[in-house]
Every structure is written in structure tokens, then in C-alpha cells.
């Protein structure tokens, strides 16, 4: 992969890359900066970039007002739990679709995706009634189940597209060697599919982490994740930019850190070159 690139080109790309990156990142950077301002400075014109009175008072305020750790743990359990559960169900299904396709495979896939098209807000009441009757309101297990189901089509779809890229003859060879189906999946398919599974995992954790409809509407005090934590800082009567920024920064930070650590493996691992 490493081709020799003239330094000047490299510098050019560095410049453009950083420029574009900073531009896209700017709203978040601005949010983080704002979180260190006082409420008055946050709305000041002309805007204050770096030379203002830095303060941590917003973080102190957020910390004293809500139990960040509780919300954080709920977010972790719900997003990781629903993603793992989803993968467990989706890997076999995606495998079957990719390596033993029938005429209807595509229809099944599309049908799965279409289950996501029912606008959540239109089915809130049916789901709410079901949850009430099964005692799942405001429980982590209920939310995990809902998010598993709502992201399952995406997981199946993404895995399917990755599995499709794995050439069938390798599996065939394994089968010739007398490997059982289970072994085929565990020893042959999975290692090759790890990059795909990893990126599916990450993306779904993010999707579940940010899911703000079900997590807001089906929880109260106990299972509320970070989305509810943020909702307690947005748009009160009065100034709220700095506090909202602090709360958002706290909510974004963990998943950014996760992204930071995982992206290397994620992107490096995604070359199928060795197989082809």
C-alpha cells in the first residue's frame, strides 16, 4: 500500500486534508470551546474564539445537577448490548444470504430493510402500550430489545455486503476438507469477516448511542441514557448554550474516544487484498 509519494504532494494533501477536516469539525470544536465559556460570553458578538475567561463552571454545574455516570452506563449497556445481540442474530442470517442465496434472498433483504421504514413516531403508541403491558417501560432490557430490532436490518445488510466480498471458493475448499458448517463459520468465515464485523459493530454502537427517539420516549428515571441527559439541558427558559455544550461534550467524548481507538484497526483491517 505504501507507495512513495513526493513530499510536495504529501504536503499539499496535508494542507487540504486539515483544512477540510477542520471545517467539518468546526461546529463541534465550537461546541467544546463554548462549554468553557460563561453563559454571557457564549452569546457575545463578536464571537470570542480563544481569548476569553476560561471556566469549568458549566461542567461543575452539569455534574452537580445530573448523574452523568448513571446515564453513561445506561448508554453503554444499551448500545453495546443491542449491537452484540444484533450481531449474534445477524451473522448466521447474513452468512446464509451471502453464501446460499436463493431467488428470494434479495426480497428478504429488502423486506428486512423495509421494516425500518415505518416511522417510529407513528408506532409510538402501539409500542408504548406493549411495553406497559409487559412491564418493559423504563428498563434497560426493553430498550436493548427495541434497539436490537430497529438496527437488526442494518446489521444484516452491512454484514451481507461484506460477506459477499469473500470469495466462495475458499469456503468450498474448507468444505471439501470435511469441515462442518459450524467450523466453516468459526474458523474460515469469521476471521475473514472480522473487519466487516468490526466496522458493523462500531457503526451500530454509534447508531444506538445516538438513537434519540425510543431512548427518550420509553424511559423515565432508571434506564435513561445520555440522550435524556442532554435533553435536560436543551432549551430551557434562559441562556443555556454553555451548559448544553458542556453536556454535549460529555456525551460525545466517550464515543469519540472509542472511535479514536478503533478506527486504526477498522480502516487498516478493511483491505481484502490478501484474499483476492
Amino acid at each position: 500500500m505504501a507507495r512513495s509519494i513526493p513530499t510536495r504532494t504529501r504536503l499539499g494533501f496535508t494542507l487540504v486534508g486539515w483544512l477540510v477536516g477542520l471545517l467539518i469539525f468546526f461546529p463541534i470544536l465550537w461546541t467544546v470551546l463554548t462549554s468553557f465559556k460563561s453563559e454571557g460570553t457564549a452569546i457575545a458578538t463578536p464571537p470570542q474564539f480563544l481569548f476569553f475567561q476560561w471556566t469549568a463552571e458549566n461542567y461543575a454545574e452539569v455534574n452537580s445537577r445530573s448523574d452523568y455516570f448513571k446515564h453513561f452506563m445506561n448508554s453503554v449497556v444499551i448500545s453495546v448490548g443491542s449491537t452484540l445481540l444484533g450481531l449474534l442474530i445477524a451473522i448466521p442470517a447474513a452468512w446464509a444470504m451471502a453464501f446460499a442465496p436463493t431467488k428470494r434472498t434479495k426480497d428478504v433483504l429488502l423486506w428486512m430493510l423495509s421494516t425500518k421504514m415505518l416511522p417510529a413516531v407513528g408506532v409510538l403508541v402501539p409500542i408504548y402500550l406493549l411495553f406497559r403491558d409487559t412491564g418493559l417501560l423504563d428498563t434497560r432490557i426493553g430498550l436493548t430489545a427495541v434497539l436490537t430490532m430497529s438496527n437488526l436490518p442494518i446489521i444484516v445488510w452491512m454484514l451481507y455486503t461484506y460477506f459477499r466480498e469473500i470469495p466462495g471458493d475458499i469456503l468450498e475448499a474448507a468444505r471439501m476438507d470435511g469441515a462442518s458448517l459450524a467450523k466453516e463459520i468459526v474458523y474460515v468465515l469469521t476471521p475473514m469477516a472480522v473487519p466487516g464485523i468490526a466496522s458493523t459493530l462500531l457503526l451500530n454502537i454509534i447508531l444506538a448511542w445516538n438513537e434519540a427517539f425510543w431512548t427518550l420516549n420509553l424511559t423515565a428515571a432508571k434506564a435513561a441514557p445520555l440522550t435524556a441527559f442532554i435533553a435536560s439541558y436543551s432549551s430551557p427558559e434562559g441562556l443555556f448554550w454553555a451548559k448544553l455544550s458542556a453536556a454535549s461534550t460529555l456525551a460525545i467524548a466517550p464515543i469519540l474516544v472509542l472511535g479514536w481507538f478503533s478506527q486504526r484497526q477498522l480502516v487498516r483491517g478493511l483491505t481484502f487484498g490478501a484474499v483476492k
Partner: protein, 289 residues
């Protein structure tokens, strides 16, 4: 390649996903269908009665409905165009080796982690506000008239905000696809004297086709249900310029608490979404084979 035995086990392995999704879809869908035929408002209990297609009639004849349909298509289409187009460019850029690549990649992915309500609030008030926003300040610094984004180009403003949220997703998927491209293949083409542009058109783009399909389909699904951004910024106004079908369903469900109307709207939205899906599959379906 598939033998009878693998076929059978394939079916077995698909069963959990299919059955679960069937339940997940069938139960709420059946309830929704049933509710859509009722005069059923949460705030007026005890008055539920059979209404036939009344809810559908009211939803479909809503003067805002056609505007909503058009706005939905514009919103989805606009965001798709920006995020896929931008995503390809970003992927190409991030595929080049340069200093601090990892950090830039992370910065580009970051908007994906921001909750929709927060990003809408930040964009509306801190960046795009025509008096107090940063853009207005920039415009005035250069002696220009600040743009009243949500008054003059409300739908475009929302498309911008939503695109910003979805660009990272497109970039990430397309980048992974790009990096799985055999570098030998690229180099071979390079040796054959193919220019950068033709290399891109004949080798890179076809290779990314399936990834693009994935991005388009998955984004479409999520974009069809966008309403938090609209709620925070414009509440569907001015007029019906930012009213989408999903927003109409939201009004029925969480402002009117009209379960009957919301259910009918939900069913209409599903039908419309499926039409879009079928159209999409026709258009790009060959990439799925």
C-alpha cells in the same frame, strides 16, 4: 455452489432474524393498521369508535400533504447527493497519505456522534442565526449582508445540517471500500498510462458501487424519518416549506395525540417509503447481485 444440506442449514440460520423481524414488524404494524381505522385520540379516552378510512382521507387530503411529500423527497435527495458526493471526495482525500491523517479522519467522522437535536440547536443559534450567529459575523466582517437562513432558504438549511450529520457515515463506508481496492490494480492502470480521472471512473467508481448502494439505502431509511432537526429549527415553517411527511405524522402523534391519524399517517409513510425503495432498487439494484 450450495448443496441441499447447506440450503437447509442456511434457512435455519436465517430463521431467528426473520422470525424476530417478522414479529417486530407484524405486531406493531397490525396494531397500527387497526388503530388507523379508529377514531382514537389519547386525550379523549372512551370515545374510540370505528372510523373506516376517515383518518386516511384526512391525512391524504391535508393541504400540507403534497408539500410534505415534495419536501421529503427534496430533503432525502439533497442530503443523499451532498453526503454521497462529498463522501466520495472525502474518501479519496483520506485515502491519500498525509501528515496527521488519523486525526483528520477522526475529525471528519466526529459529526456522526452528535445527537440530532444538539447539532440542530448549535447550527441554528450559534452558527446560522442572522444576528448572533458566527456566519452572520463572518459575513459582516467581509462587508456582506448576513443571510437569513431559516427565513429565506429553510429547507436548504435543514438539508445542510442533516448532510453534515450524515457525511461522516458516507465517508467511513466509502473509505473502507476504497481501501479494499487492490493497489496493484490501480498501479497497473497507472502504468498503462491511464489518467487520474479515467482511473477514477473506470476502476475506483465501479469498485465503490456496492458501497455507494449501501450508503444510499441505509441513509434513505434514516433520512425518511428525520424530524428532530425540523422540530428544533423551524417547526415545519415558514408556511409548509419544511413540513415533511414524517413531520406531519409527528404532529398527529405527539402534538394532537391522535393515534388514529398518526397510525394512518404511519401506514401512508410506509407505503411511500416502499415505493421509494422499489424505485431505488430498480435504479441501483444490479449492484446488489
Amino acid at each position: 455452489m450450495a448443496t441441499l444440506q447447506t440450503r437447509a442449514s442456511a434457512r435455519l440460520m436465517m430463521t431467528p432474524a426473520v422470525v424476530l423481524l417478522l414479529l417486530w414488524m407484524a405486531v406493531p404494524l397490525a396494531m397500527t393498521l387497526y388503530f388507523s381505522m379508529l377514531r382514537y385520540n389519547l386525550l379523549m379516552p372512551g370515545m374510540e369508535e370505528w372510523a373506516g378510512f376517515l383518518n386516511y382521507r384526512f391525512f391524504l387530503t391535508d393541504p400540507a400533504f403534497f408539500a410534505g411529500l415534495l419536501n421529503t423527497l427534496l430533503l432525502v435527495g439533497g442530503v443523499l447527493a451532498i453526503s454521497v458526493g462529498g463522501g466520495i471526495l472525502m474518501a479519496l482525500l483520506l485515502d491519500q497519505p498525509f501528515f496527521g491523517q488519523g486525526l483528520v479522519r477522526l475529525m471528519v467522522i466526529a459529526p456522526f456522534f452528535v445527537m440530532p437535536t444538539v447539532s440542530a440547536l448549535v447550527w441554528k443559534n450559534m452558527l446560522m442565526h442572522p444576528v448572533n450567529g458566527l456566519f452572520a459575523w463572518l459575513a459582516r466582517t467581509f462587508g456582506l449582508q448576513p443571510v437569513d437562513w431559516f427565513g429565506q432558504a429553510p429547507l436548504f438549511s435543514i438539508v445542510m445540517i442533516v448532510s453534515w450529520q450524515w457525511l461522516p457515515f458516507a465517508t467511513l463506508i466509502l473509505l473502507t471500500a476504497l481501501q479494499s481496492l487492490d493497489s496493484e490494480q490501480k498501479e497497473a492502470a497507472e502504468m498503462d498510462g491511464a489518467g487520474a480521472l479515467s482511473r477514477f471512473i473506470y476502476i475506483v467508481l465501479p469498485h465503490m458501487a456496492r458501497a455507494i448502494t449501501v450508503v444510499v439505502l441505509i441513509e434513505t431509511i434514516f433520512l425518511l424519518s428525520v424530524f428532530a432537526e425540523i422540530l428544533v429549527t423551524t417547526n415545519g415553517g415558514p408556511g409548509v416549506q419544511t413540513t415533511t411527511v414524517t413531520y406531519l405524522v409527528y404532529v398527529q402523534a405527539l402534538l394532537q395525540f391522535d393515534v388514529g391519524g398518526a397510525s394512518a399517517g404511519g401506514i401512508v409513510a410506509v407505503v411511500l417509503a416502499n415505493i421509494v425503495a422499489i424505485f431505488l432498487v430498480r435504479l441501483i439494484g444490479k449492484n446488489l447481485d
